[in-house]
Subunit: 149 residues, 2 copies
DNA sequence: TTGCCCACCTGAAGCGCTTGAGGTCAAGCG
DNA sequence: CGCTTGACCTCAAGCGCTTCAGGTGGGCAA
């Protein structure tokens, strides 16, 4: 998993991917856009070797990304972490904003599920030739559509 | 909103956008990728004019898109609608698959919300210099992280 | 030694849109 | 009548990745 290289542990991109949950392609992409600073390379092969500090940081990024946080917010997160000043309030706000975002998404998801479930029911009614059921569902779909926005 | 053109109502792209909830850019994009077949144009200006049939169809597409349905599924939906055969079962399956997709998304959202809410609490504790609170939250975050995947 | 496979590399294209730049057409106004 | 305004047009680039094509280095078996 890790190889010893002098006295520093170094991690391959494959292992970094397993540890963080970010794909290898995403790890390269994040480096390219400067979200993670240049990763040292193995002299002879040119392969990336992630050092201890980077491993911890990227692991955290993996969690944030897994919540759907934007790249910009991840940038801010890293900036707040690095800064010498006390950024606790900014951090709290960053996470609170993201909680609200998720909350809204959840609510929209419920509306969507209802609409799709009704559509499934509609076609199930048609499948069994149930014209009555069909005409009961149609107005419900119309109502559900309103909330879809 | 609509103009009369012979005996057929025709709708501008702006109005089509308002009706369907799809942006003008998306309407052009859907046409480009062949999801909606070529839209007739106004002779002199070259502007798109959506006819009655297209309006109804695109309105429906707008709802499906609003639920997060994939372009491929929308293609299938249109194909099933058009077909002469009885596609009720295929339709039902298509919608049921999408209900499941949303269901899974909702569940993942709950995990994400919990993780982010804990992170917000952590920084709130740090903000008020509450080391006790902080050490209570840290293990909860570790636990919540497990579910994130 | 040769050959092979694996992990890794880079660069480009694709996805589903959105955003922006730059240009045309028709109508209304001074 | 020219001028502005607005709605529309096309083409190109950007976003956050993913996927693919084509190539290199290193280790191991035959």
């Amino acid at each position: 998993m890790t190889t010893t290289d002098g006295d520093r542990a170094s991690v391959s991109i494959q292992d970094m991917s397993k540890i963080s949950g970010l794909s290898e392609a995403t790890l390269r992409y994040y480096e390219k856009i400067g979200l993670i600073g240049p990763v040292p390379r193995d002299e002879s092969s040119g392969h990336r070797r992630y050092g201890g500090h980077a491993v911890v940081m990227i692991e955290a990024l993996g969690c944030l990304r897994a919540t759907g946080m934007s790249v910009q917010d991840m940038r801010d997160y890293l900036r707040f972490l690095d800064g010498r000043e006390d950024n606790a309030a900014l951090m709290r706000e960053l996470f609170e904003r993201n909680v609200s975002r998720i909350q809204e998404e959840i609510e929209r998801m419920h509306v969507r599920r209802r609409y799709l479930a009704l559509k499934a029911e509609l076609w199930a009614a048609r499948e069994r030739g149930d014209a009555d059921g069909e005409s009961r569902i149609v107005p419900e779909i119309a109502a559900a559509r309103e909330g879809l926005r």
